[in-house]
Assembly symmetry: D2
Homo-oligomer: 338 residues x 4
């Protein structure tokens, strides 16, 4: 951490701040120039709150050199983390995991039909929303526990482990019992109570990046879960908010090589929410595979025009199957499988 | 709602979609031009999910004419909503409400000293965080219930009703008993379970705008609370995320006249979180008053350099008192009081 | 175009506005509902300024149904535009065009070495900046005309046509004589005088997307060039500005399928400027190919650590060659060549 | 400047980089910790290109401590710059300068009427566009030189010096002869040829902030002009681009105190382009005054509904007069005049 103090700071104030830092078992090194007083802090600054130093009225600026996350940091954990879900391994050089399914679980008939179709197309897991975060209070809010039970039924029938979003802490027992991967949605990426709750379980967690969160904040949210003891975290990019209006969000595929460099956690891509339009999904999915993604999370619906949510971004099963066929060939070019 | 279908849509598909809409008690009106098939939908489209129509493969585009919120909409509720908290009225032409206090409640001594200072400076309410949403799991997470009890003690001593952030549904009884205004933080603006929970109470709710949320989404979150039966909603702008790095966020003061036009709810401004720097707070606070804000939420600390969170953006009590003096004169120019 | 007028607009004001529009050879169609007065405008609205209607004090809102661009619009020009540069065809199902070279032309030795290397690696064109848009007035501003002459020399030697950025109208004769593709840089995407100037030539133009411009604005800038008579426009995405700080910009690959749908112009990708970091370039380049890009523009330097600009994002020749090898295989999967 | 090198960098590579820096008359100071090799650079780093260091493959990160602008920097120029235009002083504690007028100059009659009205309302300068940067090639592009001559005529008649946007270098003689303040528009903030051209004159320059530019980049563009020898630079904020769709841009008023801290140049606000809606202009203008702006640039039209550009954001003269009346009282509270 680098601390810049104002040019005219009294020498005693500089010493006072350095002393405070040394009390925290940190050391300081001077690099003062002509126009500023600058020093570096050496030691474990992960737990040091940048704002603590910034509130000193003589301090102009504080810059981190070291990342504020530790458990999620590849620097301290060079090997890839492999998350295992019912025998399926996610991350490292394992096959790219394809997760398909409807935005919302709507009925037994709907879910079973879609499960069958995504299975046939080559998916190895089933996604489906039982609790839905909807912008409008007047929109369909999901089937709740009944939806989770249908996911369990589909798993028995087709052997597809389930991914479903948990929105509130009080549903954790339901999810532990009836769901294989707990999804933390983009809007809840910094719902810290929720992160702490899943951190205390040993369920795999799929952590979506928030709409306007930096990669560092995203890794800090992973750190929350890992600091609680649960290291089974899968990161999922689903588009960030920009000024562009044509797409629902802007898919940031550069996170794939960045996450692989900064962290050891698996990274998967959700091109459906990122674009909001089914006819953009295939090209973004193939791009994600080419960029090195560890998996894809894709919305599939047998009748998109009757879907209770997110119909416009849902692929029909035949398009989903086609996408996987092409994706498989691209994966091979990179020495991976689907 | 305006629906644009592709040029070459078969006539039967156009009719089919129109029929489906008419079954929902809506009517359609043609405005078709040369290159697109366009029609308008007349009736109560508030409950109509735009995506439902967009998932029709022949539909190119759907545009809302009418806002998707009703209870928060000034069109259907022309009078200003006045939220009353222990005799203090917020909104309309009532005096501008000044709320001051520390980011985190740290100890009884700290809170009592600050409460006394903000009271003397002219504040009418006390803010203080008992549960803190921190980016890092290693940072101070707040005193919890003990903090709320200290807020209650400060209220007894200095007559200042309290504002404090609630982060999880399971704390609602605590807040109903020990807090006067429940704050929903920016990161939880779309934590819909939390919104539903406070919607079932009759406690005033201070709803912060999310870091990257549009005004329409913000009003939809207010709608969630109001749809539950609680109409005591105060909106609070605290800066949005942009590419600018010098400030913590970018304060969007244009929301003040916009909210007053679109909605009847009171709107207050938090210049502390918006800027992240105490020396920008005064000018932004005065600007907010000049733009017509109904209140200000400001972080004040007696020793910012020792604050356990957000020290860099906390005003010292004397600066806070000064700000109120100037603000009062600006309020007078606009025919309002502080 | 859909016009929404306020609920209480006097009938005569509605008629007055409709009459004005009808004088412009447009027709109107009513779709009025309960809370707003709404009508559609039918006819060629491309030339109609939305703001002209919006300035009517009774108008609440105006929404375009039809895109404001015509010549760049696939709706009116279904076949792909193929831009031909010295026998190389860009766009359609032609081979993916690889353009490599240094950010700045620094010396004859540097340029010739790099030209040789990119040629050997498989590039078919050479990029190189003679005039450099630098944020700082104290930074290297480019070799100017001497640089363009070196590009010409490299072309003679290695058969690589050149791409170089033109920053001011008064250099147009130089570029027409010595350069094969004129690049309009991101910062000049809405430098309308420059667009008009290249619109009057028949040189191919590579139009970069602005740092914060929407796809529609980008196509409108293409429209400027095409309206001048020059239809040889190649679009180039180079990342947009977001809140993320780790990368220089955020690469928006979804523009590839979107441009192909909305327009008939070729679209190429510049992963170097988009990421700002050489170790992210390969994965983003492969992703671009997988998403269907018509070409790649990549910075290559033989000694990146001595480059006079953009060293951190420049690939070494061997990495560039590697990228092309992998890219070729991905292209094949999609039925294309490099 | 702080340089972070990778943990495993060979000692000789660290020495090599340090030697190169020392050759540039800079010194280095070690602050190496456990996980990184870190050193600071002491000396005049203004002219040092950050990317030069970043392209060293062993370098992880480079952070500036010192701002990259010098002439625009308050650190080296503590007194406020006062720009004088025909006897009117802008900046410091001088009266707040009100500049009013139409977006486009449309005719003699229009301009003279508006000039008279803004003069009567209290404006001291006249704005008016002769060359218009329009998104669409089919929109009105301005009257050109004829417009500038009308501005000159209005000046003779009403004593109002003129502000008008210059879009291309080849018009500089026209502007020097017929215009009092040359405006560099938002889209041209990084048109470096244009900046260099006005830098060689001694005309006052009004430099608008780009749609997505940081404050540092804006000051670097001012530095371009000043480095050329022209120190008469006035900064103008006109809103930045965000995800919010209701306003044309998001007005960032925090730039007022920030510019006053970082620079000595005057800062004025354009609430018309920032909001795009006339009914938001008054509150944003008053807020700007309360925040300490040195001036306002406001669009005024006698018949907004007939304006050839930007009608929706133009104030009628009576609303403009009203705004000035209220603004004057707010200015007084802060010890300033209008």
């Amino acid at each position: 951490m680098i601390v810049t103090m104002k040019k005219d700071t009294p020498q005693e104030e500089v010493l006072k701040l350095k002393n405070e830092l040394e009390k925290l078992n940190l050391q300081t090194r001077d690099i003062t120039g002509d126009n500023y007083i600058v020093f570096g802090i050496v030691g474990d600054t992960t737990i040091l709150d940048k704002n603590f130093i910034l509130s000193n009225p003589y301090v102009e600026n504080v810059t981190r050199v070291q990342a504020p996350y530790k458990k999620a940091n590849r620097l301290f954990h060079p090997e890839n983390t492999i998350v295992e879900v019912e025998g399926i391994k996610i991350g490292g050089n394992n096959p790219i995991v394809i997760i398909g399914g409807p935005c919302s679980i709507e009925s037994e008939k709907q879910l079973m039909e879609i499960a069958k179709e995504v299975k046939n197309a080559g998916a190895v897991m089933l996604r489906g929303g039982a609790y839905k975060p909807r912008t409008s209070p007047y929109a369909f809010q999901g089937m709740g526990i009944a939806g989770l039970l249908l996911m369990e039924k589909a798993k028995k029938e087709y052997g597809l482990p389930s991914v479903s979003e948990m929105m509130a802490v009080d549903k954790i027992d339901e999810f532990i019992e009836h769901c294989d991967i707990i999804q933390i949605g983009a809007r809840n990426m910094q719902n810290f109570d929720l992160l702490k709750a899943v951190g205390k379980t040993n369920k795999p967690v799929l952590l979506k990046r928030g709409l306007s969160n930096t990669i560092e904040e995203w890794l800090m949210s992973a750190e929350y879960i890992m600091a609680g003891g649960n290291e089974n975290v899968i990161l999922c990019e689903r588009g960030i908010r920009t000024f562009e209006k044509y797409t629902r969000n802007t898919l940031d595929l550069s996170v794939i090589p960045i996450i692989k460099k900064k962290s050891h956690l698996p990274i998967i891509i959700d091109p459906s929410h990122a674009t909001g339009k089914w006819d953009l999904v295939e090209s973004m999915a193939l791009a994600a595979i080419a960029a090195g993604a560890d998996g894809l999370l894709i919305e599939v619906h047998n009748k998109p025009e009757e879907a209770m949510s997110d119909g416009p971004q849902s692929l029909k099963p035949e398009n989903f199957a086609n996408l996987i066929k092409k994706g498989r060939k691209i994966a091979e070019v990179l020495g991976r499988k689907i």
